[in-house]
């Protein structure tokens, strides 16, 4: 029995040693593990112009300008983390989920003009899942505008059914 106890302690000790080694390693490489940098980080410490970085944040409502330059669609939009905003220029087709108020990750380089030249734009959706009808009802009642941030607390809508939402939509005096 003592041998079993010893083996148990040995296994625990090895696991704790391995765990702390991993934790220290991850902590040391933490800045490389983050998938993207926030606009305020890029503003505070601008990366070298030839270095590819990932910029993540929310698309500012009303900042999206779309043009067509030589048959390619070009989009200009501001990305913010609430503290700073960076203008992003992207040539190409934006993902389906791209919209104002959406979180996006733009991969590219910071140009000398202060704008961020993205070679790729990824849409990052949040952890809220709600039926189309519920979102529509929330928007109509003025409780939530998706262009200005995250959905309200789930407790206020997660029991709303599609039928409730349709009924609410049918009675127009809902939005006070």
């Amino acid at each position: 029995m003592t041998r079993k106890t010893r083996r148990l302690w040995l296994a625990c000790a090895c696991l704790m040693g391995l765990g702390s080694a991993t934790a220290l390693t991850l902590n040391a490489f933490s800045s490389n593990i983050v998938f993207f940098m926030a606009p305020s980080q890029i503003r505070a410490k601008p990366p070298a112009p030839d270095r590819t970085v990932r910029l993540g944040g929310m698309v500012v409502a009303g900042s999206v300008r779309r043009q067509t330059v030589r048959d390619t669609p070009v989009a200009l939009f501001d990305v913010t983390d609430g503290q700073a905003a960076v203008t992003v220029r992207y040539e190409g087709i934006l993902p389906d989920l791209f919209r104002e108020g959406q979180s996006v990750v733009a991969i590219g380089t910071a140009g000398p003009d202060g704008a961020f030249h993205a070679s790729e734009v990824l849409a990052k959706h949040d952890e809220t899942y709600m039926p189309k009808e519920v979102a529509e009802a929330l928007r109509r009642s003025g409780k939530w505008d998706p262009r200005y941030g995250k959905a309200p607390d789930a407790a206020s809508w997660d029991t709303m059914t599609v039928r409730d939402a349709r009924r609410d939509a049918a009675s127009p005096q809902h939005g006070s």
């Binding site: 029995m1 003592t2 079993k4 106890t5 083996r7 148990l8 296994a11 090895c14 696991l15 391995l18 765990g19 991993t22 991850l26 933490s30 593990i33 983050v34 998938f35 993207f36 940098m37 926030a38 993540g56 993902p95 389906d96 989920l97 919209r99 959406q102 990750v105 790729e120 734009v121 990824l122 849409a123 990052k124 959706h125 949040d126 952890e127 809220t128 899942y129 709600m130 039926p131 189309k132 009808e133 519920v134 979102a135 529509e136 998706p146 959905a151 607390d153 789930a154 407790a155 809508w157 997660d158 029991t159 709303m160 059914t161 599609v162």
Partner: protein, 272 residues
């Protein structure tokens, strides 16, 4: 020290009682229908519910239905590995024969479900994020989990002498458990493209109940299915080891004098 000593002894005794392969065969035979049929019924119900009777998401459209297979697969990939780690501990500390057999059988099933998680995630990421794959912390740590499973599968079968394979694989299985908290908390510790968890133990789910229910039904169904497949494979493995032991005993008996047949009367004695 004395308290831990007796605790270890008692835990060992409990495990020995239930890990007796003969007892496991009887228990498994009784358990199997209670796992298999509910698993089938719940999985089919959850899939049909998720595919046809749950609402589309307001921004993801119908692609949100991939969640009903992706999320249960992700949870099972992690909990399957947790099971593997427990087997590894039982094998290393208590030298449990049934834990070794269970580790052999959990490995491929866990690897398959992790592959499902990665593939369905990719199929969901392409239309939603705009990419099949990114090297963010969540996706990478799950890929590491997949390789841990593959390494375990290879290692446990790599030695001519099975006991050495069991030992080596158990060490890998236990060490790899470090990846589980990394997977769980990756979306909180670092910026990732992957969104944070919608369902947590501590907070209300940020998901409509119309989507939550089919997800829970699918999860329960898949979990029972995972258990049913592992139990079936483990029962088969115990039977196969008995067959091997019986055949080698018979071969031994054939060579020995007929009178000594009574003494070596232990078909499957090595494992039973």
């Amino acid at each position: 020290m004395n308290a831990t000593h007796s605790l270890v002894a008692r835990t060992g005794a409990v495990f020995h009682r239930y890990a007796n392969p003969g007892r496991f065969l009887r228990l498994g035979a009784r358990l199997q229908p209670w796992l298999t049929w509910p698993a089938l019924a719940l999985s089919i119900a959850g899939i049909v519910w998720g595919l046809f009777f749950s609402p589309a998401d307001w921004q993801q459209g119908d692609s949100v239905r991939i969640m009903y297979v992706h999320v249960p697969a992700a949870w099972l990939a992690s909990s399957g590995y947790a099971g593997l780690a427990v087997c590894s501990l039982l094998s290393l500390v208590w030298r449990h024969p049934l834990a070794d057999l269970a580790a052999v059988e959990i490995g491929p099933v866990g690897a398959a479900i992790t592959a499902v998680c990665l593939a369905t995630g990719s199929l969901w990421g392409k239309p939603m994020w705009g990419t099949w794959w990114v090297w963010d912390a969540r996706l990478t740590s799950v890929l590491v989990l997949f390789f841990l499973y593959l390494g375990h599968i290879a290692l446990i079968r790599a030695f001519d002498e099975p006991q050495r394979g069991y030992r080596a694989a158990a060490i890998l299985g236990l060490a790899g458990a470090v990846d589980l908290p990394i997977i769980k908390f990756s979306v909180q510790w670092w910026n990732t493209l992957h969104q944070p968890d919608s369902i947590t133990l501590t907070g209300a789910p940020t998901m409509s109940t119309a989507m939550l229910w089919p997800l829970l039904v699918c999860t329960l169904g898949f979990t029972l299915g995972f258990a049913a497949i592992v139990v079936a494979r483990l029962r088969a493995a115990v039977m196969e080891s008995r067959i091997r032991a019986a055949l080698s005993a018979r071969r031994g008996r054939g060579r020995a004098a007929p009178d000594s047949a009574h003494d070596s009367d232990v078909p499957g004695g090595a494992v039973a």
